[in-house]
Subunit: 215 residues, 2 copies
Amino acid sequence: MRPRIDYTLYLVTDRSQMNAPTLTKAVESAIKGGCTLVQLREKTASSREFYDQAQELRVLTRAYNIPLIINDRVDIALAVDAEGVHIGQHDLPAHVIRTLIGPTKIMGVSAHTLAEAQAAAQAQADYLGIGAMFATPTKPDAATIAMTEYQRIRRHIRLPLVLIGGLTLQTIPQLSGCGADGMAVVSAILAQPDIERAASDIKETILRGKAAERQ
Amino acid sequence: MRPRIDYTLYLVTDRSQMNAPTLTKAVESAIKGGCTLVQLREKTASSREFYDQAQELRVLTRAYNIPLIINDRVDIALAVDAEGVHIGQHDLPAHVIRTLIGPTKIMGVSAHTLAEAQAAAQAQADYLGIGAMFATPTKPDAATIAMTEYQRIRRHIRLPLVLIGGLTLQTIPQLSGCGADGMAVVSAILAQPDIERAASDIKETILRGKAAERQ
């Protein structure tokens, strides 16, 4: 059995966006502010640096009982016993990842179209990351997804959907009522002067939207 | 039981040094020329490109009955069922790698000092890569190892030792009699106008040195 995950506020790390002395400190502040899930994403680190950072976050997230997801690197996810991995369309194929991680670990897959979402669901993804919802400084060349395409995915896919890309205090209210399970945030938390406060403000905004959705 | 490996002429790939339309073609020529072992090293590819290339080499090396070693990425080594992985000092720690790959896969470790060599041996490395023996265009900033340090490693370590760094038709004869088990070559094979011929000339030079050593 895979663990049940609360996708409400999904922190995705980016060292270059971080307003804190260490990534571990930044993530701890974000967790204190209400992040429910953490994905470690390292795009320029050596394997050893990535592994060392993953070990630090492993200790931290266990202490707060928050699931840890590793971006791309299955070997590092297995090495630190993370709850799962998140892969994009340029990483190993999802069915290969599932074989490597076994049935009990979480697999998240980034999807930008209904076809990609259906392929990921067929390969036993546990959740999908959908985006970019808005233009974003984290991935300046990421194409944004049309709201109609997102809505097609939501209609056809029963898996939890996490939105990503340009999500901020200002943009999240525009997504209210769209039926997503969670919001993934990078710079709107990590690059802020007060990370804990930024996470807490965003969490409140998301929960307000979810409450409105249920009415 | 791990497979017995012939380390005599160890081809290490480098896409930027390659004089062939595809890496797979280049590796096939090198195998025809006499390479006994192939390491796929990709430093800039996406995970998917790395995996796709590894799969192609998996098919090729099986056809020629040549072991395939994957640089750094244990997940890709496991995904394509390579014979093993090779790690450097900036990759995951060797004892972690051994846990991930299990007892039957080969683990090679790069070492530059006796201390690193001893640590790798203790972590159950199967062979060591020692270098850089000479300055090399493949890794322009790699420090060369003093011959006296290599000799200390040879005296203290019983594992197979493979030399690397600047090995060419011209430099290999200088290493004759040093007791190494194999020579790892990149540009002196892959960047040559006739890859098969370059591999075959180097193989002959190595075997001549080994024969002289035994007399």
